[in-house]
């Protein structure tokens, strides 16, 4: 399951859209450029995959005192 440790960096994508519109000569809509910037934003958001381990041993100890 994927989750993001710093999702606030998604706002950077909006800023990049503004930059692309304001400075058209940067041609940020070109596929390679858009992919590079998209991956950069994704890295800043720190995606994490939670994997289940092989398992764990569960030990249950019961006190033998009568009061327990």
């Amino acid at each position: 399951m994927i989750r993001f440790a710093a999702p606030e960096w998604a706002l950077l994508a909006l800023l990049l859209v503004v930059v692309a519109v304001a400075w058209r000569r940067l041609q940020l809509w070109l596929p390679l450029r858009a992919t590079c910037l998209g991956l950069l934003v994704l890295a800043l958001m720190q995606p994490e995959i939670r994997r289940l381990g092989k398992g764990l041993d569960l030990w249950t100890a019961r006190p033998r005192r009568r009061t327990a």
Partner: protein, 576 residues
């Protein structure tokens, strides 16, 4: 705080630098542009006139921006982390005490420092523990010096056969706790409890070796097995103090067991069967001694009606002598009437009930008590006659009941313990019942084991030894200074003495075929992920990494701005 990298492989991205320079060395392909006039073209120096060919590297802003971007990207991919100064970890290394590990001592000496030094780098302070899976052995090392741990591991000698690792691994996990690492060093893939990492240092060996021997008089028979997956050829010979026999070649198919036999060298009590050497040395030599068991002296005391039974019994007992008098006897065979002779016997004895003939069968099914003498014996089918019994006394230890009658019982203290057969054997089918015959043999063997006398026998390595000594004498001692309660760990000859008196001369041979089989041995480890996990636990991310990422994005934008200016295709460079 010291800088470390969670993913040093990220620096492979620096290989993009020469690729980038190579691309910049190429001339850019000229493009045809249709124009209405040529008057402005005199002032423009052509950037590229020859197409895609190598030319001199030109200094340009896009080149430097792209080089800087590659370096920045490599730094980000390497994952810089700052190790916390207060970080500490406990690493518990558990060595597999199986003797098969002895074949990989060199591999262990190479692998252990390399992997443990990796763990050293993931915490500011590391506490080391070195254990082995033999729970009877003490901790090999505990402290903060890795070099001392490695020295202890180098001096360690595995000595056990197949055994259970779980108790020691559970102890190790308790020592390591959640913030530590438990590393199990073995030579093959095995199931371990959760949280235990494996460092396996083995590899398949083409091993052939001796797996067992029996000696009967002068004749010996030994088993040799090919444990490998391919056909193997070896040679073998017999060695004595005075020399060696000629080599005999031997070819074994995969997994084949062959029986070899021969006669012990005349006049020699010791010899060794020697197989040509391979990667596992323990089963290449098989020491032998000419067996000389302790003999038990029997005295027989009964009327003529018992002669046939006693002759039959003494003939079935191995290594016994029938003594003429009772004074020198280790055990007496005696037939007694039920009353009044119910007193304890003097010395060890087997007392048989001698009663008048009866026609009534004893009622009920025989039932055995839980005792080493009766373990595993089946008494169903025993038929006895109803006769007057021996009178029960306090302290009697009943072995077999029939109804409420103690059918067979022990009487007397340790020095005078006697076996009472409380039914008339002559009027029963007991002498044809295996359980009865085995019980009598076990009782005689227990007396033989307690007899203080010299014996010579062949045993397996690390086998428990029961050597009877004089209670009032000095403690038993093993030749070479080892523990007299167990045979040596390595194959060889040994002697157990009490003072100057030799009690046991033995030959210990290795016969654990499971440890000789190296087909499943392999090299692997599960530590790589663990060291990254420990590094993450004991360090924190470089707080500047978002700044580095943003700088990388800025370099991208600057590069695209630089390459996108002016007429398309004229400014050259790699635009991306």
């Amino acid at each position: 705080m010291s800088l470390s990298f969670a993913n040093p492989a990220g620096f492979w991205a620096l290989l993009a630098l020469p690729i980038l320079l190579g691309i910049h060395l190429l001339q850019r392909q000229s493009r045809r542009v249709v124009t209405s006039t040529m008057f402005l073209f005199d002032t423009l120096t052509p950037v590229s006139v020859e197409g895609r060919r190598i030319e001199r590297l030109r200094n340009s802003l896009p080149l430097w921006l792209q080089l800087a971007a590659v370096v920045l990207l490599a730094c980000i991919l390497a994952g810089p982390r700052w190790l916390r100064r207060d970080s500490s970890q406990r690493v518990v290394v558990v060595l597999d005490s199986s003797v098969s590990m002895g074949a990989f001592r060199d591999e262990l000496a190479r692998a252990l420092p390399a992997h443990l030094q990796t763990l050293t780098r993931v915490a500011a302070r590391t506490e080391w523990h070195l254990l082995e899976t033999d729970p009877a052995r003490p901790t090999l090392y505990a402290g903060t010096e890795l070099d001392a741990l490695l020295a202890a591991a180098k001096a360690w000698v595995p000595h056990l056969g197949k055994h259970d690792f779980a108790p020691t691994l559970n102890v190790a996990r308790g020592l390591a706790r959640e913030a530590g690492v438990t590393v199990f060093v073995t030579d093959r893939r095995t199931d371990v409890p959760a949280g235990v990492e494996i460092l396996a240092v083995g590899h398949p060996l083409d091993n052939c070796g001796w797996v067992g021997v029996s000696v009967n008089g002068d004749r010996w028979r030994a088993l040799v097995q090919n444990h490998s997956a391919t056909s193997q050829t070896r040679s073998w010979h017999i060695e004595t103090e005075s020399g060696a026999s000629a080599e005999t070649s031997l070819t074994l198919a995969p997994g084949q067991i062959r029986t070899l036999g021969g006669t012990l060298p005349a006049g020699k009590n010791r010899c060794e069967l020697v197989l040509s050497k391979d990667g596992f040395a323990l089963d290449d030599r098989l020491p032998l001694v000419r067996p000389e068991p302790k003999r038990v002296a029997l005295a027989v005391n009964g009327d003529k009606s018992w002669d046939a039974f006693f002759n039959h019994l003494t003939g079935s007992l191995p290594d016994v002598d029938v003594a003429s008098g009772t004074a020198r006897a280790d055990i007496r065979l005696e037939a007694r009437a039920p009353a009044p002779a119910a007193n304890p016997a003097e010395g060890r004895a087997i007392i048989f009930l001698s009663a008048p003939n009866s026609t009534t069968n004893l009622a009920g099914e025989p039932l055995a008590e839980n005792n080493p003498l009766t373990a595993g014996l089946v008494w169903n089918g025993l038929l006895c006659k109803q006769t007057d019994p021996f009178m029960h006394q306090d302290g009697d230890e009943t072995l077999v009941w029939q109804g409420d009658r103690p059918l067979i019982f022990l009487r007397g203290g340790r020095a005078e313990r006697s076996l009472y057969v409380n039914f008339d054997v002559r009027q029963s089918n007991a002498d044809r019942l295996p359980a009865f015959v085995v019980l009598l043999n076990r009782f005689v063997e227990s007396i033989r084991a307690e007899k203080v006398s010299f014996e010579r026998r062949n045993v397996e390595t690390n086998q428990a030894l029961e050597v009877a000594g004089d209670q009032a004498g000095p403690p038993l001692g093993m030749s070479g200074g080892g523990d007299a309660s167990r045979a040596p760990f390595s194959p060889g000859f040994f002697e157990v003495r009490q003072g100057d008196r030799p009690l046991l001369e033995g030959a210990a041979h290795f016969a654990d075929a499971r440890e000789s089989d190296f087909k499943a041995a392999e090299t692997f480890d599960t530590l790589e992920g663990k060291s990254s996990q420990m590094a993450a636990r004991n360090s924190r991310d470089d707080f500047l990494w978002p700044v580095l990422a943003l700088a990388l994005g800025a370099l991208f934008l600057a590069n695209w701005a630089a390459t996108g200016r002016g007429p398309r295709g004229v400014r050259g460079g790699v635009a991306g």
